[in-house]
């Protein structure tokens, strides 16, 4: 148990739908350990994004408990959840969602600034990340001048910036070509394994699953298999 970064304990999520309730997720029970990279697959509508939102404290479960580093997230106030996302969770979305008026390096420095990291450290870390992702030459560009792949890599760098314990990725490779996607996911998996983080990645691309330590198959809101 000590090893767990994220654990779902019999989690369910449902929405009221007219007179009935719509069950999106039911009886979700799994644990993500340090250094582990889990892939999340399933047909659309299976509840993958909802699961990811629950893990990121963007939603609260209807039932059950979710623990991040041993803290029950539902018991936190919205303000504390925001602070938790800032320091412990790195989000990577389907589209990059960069801030349009910040240049590449400023995107990274901004999250460090929110977190209260000292300027020199933040600068150093940002340079390091940009170097790893091969984007140093782009550091002064604004998002509208970057290709989709570059934008997505910046988003990944931004997610890593505050050194989170958990990385949540919602189809991060959807906008990348195969070779770019492979190198990004490979790099992500390497980082996770080496630095003892945890990552949960939703993907449609079966070819990316070979970098995952385990794969959760979701179907109709339930876990069909974990392999």
């Amino acid at each position: 148990m000590d090893n767990a970064i994220l654990s779902f304990k019999d989690v369910a999520k449902s929405y009221p739908d007219g007179e009935n309730t719509l069950d999106i997720l039911q009886a979700i029970d799994f644990q993500l350990n340090k250094g582990e990279f889990i892939g999340l697959v399933g047909p659309s509508g299976a509840g993958k994004s909802t699961l990811l939102s629950l893990a990121g404290a963007l939603l609260n479960p209807t039932q059950g408990e979710i623990y991040l580093d041993g803290i029950s997230m539902a018991s936190l106030s919205p303000k504390e959840q925001t602070a938790l996302r800032l320091s412990k969770i790195g989000f990577i979305f389907q589209s990059a969602h960069l801030v349009p008026y910040l240049n590449v390096k400023e995107q990274l420095l901004f999250v460090a600034k929110l977190h209260g990291t000292a300027k020199g450290d933040a600068n150093h870390h940002a340079d390091e990340l940009l170097d790893k992702l091969g984007l140093t030459h782009r550091s002064k560009h604004y998002p509208d001048k970057l290709s989709g792949g570059e934008q997505q890599r910046i988003a990944i760098a931004r997610a890593m910036m505050n050194d989170p314990s958990l990385i949540l990725a919602d189809e991060p490779t959807a906008s990348l070509d195969f070779s770019r996607a492979t190198s990004v996911v490979e790099w992500l998996s390497h980082e996770v394994n080496e630095q003892g983080k945890g990552a949960l990645m939703v993907t449609h691309d079966e070819r990316m699953l070979r970098f995952c330590d385990r794969v959760i198959q979701l179907e109709d809101g339930k876990i069909r298999s974990i392999s």
């Binding site: 939102s53 990121g56 963007l58 939603l59 303000k79 925001t82 602070a83 938790l84 996302r85 800032l86 320091s87 969770i89 989000f91 979305f93 969602h97 801030v99 349009p100 008026y101 910040l102 400023e106 901004f110 999250v111 600034k113 929110l114 977190h115 604004y142 931004r158 997610a159 505050n162």
Partner: protein, 371 residues
């Protein structure tokens, strides 16, 4: 602050136009306010000098000081009742004159109040006339527009008397005419001569008292007078000056409409900008930016926009005041500028509160998914 400043620097064009519109709107507000103040002062500044006093006019004059005529009997009875040391008659005569040896006619009004009143008027040039003099007068500097200057002599056409200008005053106009202040001896002479020509004795327009309207009303109630009188505050007398309300109300209406337009434009501006950035705010919240940070950032941005655009409009107003011809009545006091600025700030803060409410209720997930 970081975010808002970066955004302004990045979207210079958008913010430039926004500032331009706010600057032009507020410039128009300042300009019309200046015009309204200028006209008001041009019409009433001589009466405003008595703003702390209570006026007693003839009732049939319908609150209009230019129509009021109190007989010396009424004046004496009123002064006896209210106390001679607390009252003084105000005499005024609107007439036409001309500069000696010149044909061009000039409208002007003679004022004669308490003996010491002319000293309460600020001289901008020349000197106070001798109390015993029967020719020396001080007059509002606006007479210079008609080509009459310090030391010139003007002839009153009604009485045929000639006066010499020994001093120029400021902010002493009545019904857009310069006011000339006469001493007791001069007024006495004028009323005798004018009465000969117009067949009726010159009468006092009003009795002024330092008592409050209420006190004066109580004291004059039931007083046996040959004329009915009405007790009024200086503000009421000013409002009833010919043309005053008409000028002021139309300009006030324009200013209020401008403010109304500003409310909508600012409100819609800030609202739309916030709505446009919904997904961006959603993302910022998702990666851990607090709502308070976003609200502060928006507030700061609004303040920057406001300060710059109001600064530009004040600069434009200042340039306008310099460029305007001297005949144009234009006056802006610091108090007026202050209240207008405050109004703009309040309006913007209200519209920004609406936007902040937007930010608060943004649901991170739906904003991200573009729902």
């Amino acid at each position: 602050m970081y975010l808002s400043w970066k955004e302004i620097c990045h979207s210079k064009g958008r913010f430039f136009f926004m500032m331009l519109i706010i600057a032009l709107l507020s410039y128009l507000v300042f300009f019309i306010s200046g015009l309204a103040n200028g006209l008001s002062s041009d019409n009433a500044s001589a009466i405003e000098k008595y703003s702390h006093q209570t006026f007693i006019l003839q009732k049939d004059a319908d609150q209009r000081i230019n129509r009021s005529a109190l007989t010396s009997d009424t004046v004496n009875r009123l002064r006896d009742k209210l106390g001679t040391d607390r009252t003084h008659p105000l005499n005024l005569l609107t007439t036409t004159g001309n500069k000696v040896n010149k044909e061009q006619k000039i409208d002007l009004t003679f004022f004669n109040g308490q003996p010491s009143q002319s000293s309460s008027v600020t001289l901008i040039d020349g000197k106070q006339p001798n109390k015993a003099s029967t020719v020396d007068i001080i007059i509002d500097q606006s007479i210079q527009k008609s080509g009459v200057h310090l030391g010139d002599r003007i002839k009153d056409q009604l009485s045929g008397l000639t006066f010499r200008i020994v001093g120029l005053t400021k902010h002493t106009t009545y019904s857009h005419m310069p006011v000339a202040y006469l001493n007791q001896a001069e007024w006495h002479l004028l009323s005798k001569k004018a009465a000969l020509n117009s067949a009726r004795p010159l009468e006092s327009a009003a009795v002024l008292t330092s008592l409050s309207v209420q006190e004066a009303k109580e004291l004059t109630h039931g007083l046996p007078l040959s004329q009915d009188v009405q007790v009024l505050s200086a503000a009421d007398v000013i409002k009833s000056l010919p043309g005053y309300s008409a000028e002021q109300s139309s300009l006030t209406m324009m200013i209020s409409f401008l403010f109304l337009i500003s409310v909508f434009i600012l409100g819609v501006f800030f609202y739309i900008i916030t709505v446009q950035k919904r997904s961006q705010f959603g993302l910022l919240k998702a990666i851990g930016t607090g709502t308070a940070y976003l609200a502060r950032s928006l507030l700061f941005q609004t303040l920057i926009v406001l300060v710059i655009s109001l600064g530009i409009s004040l600069l434009l107003t200042w340039i306008t005041a310099l460029v305007l011809p001297s005949g144009m009545p234009f006056a802006l006091s610091l108090a007026t500028i202050g209240t207008r600025l405050a109004a703009f700030f309040v309006i913007s803060m209200i519209s920004i509160l609406l936007s902040i409410y937007q930010i608060i209720k943004i649901d991170t997930l739906s904003a991200l998914e573009g729902r």
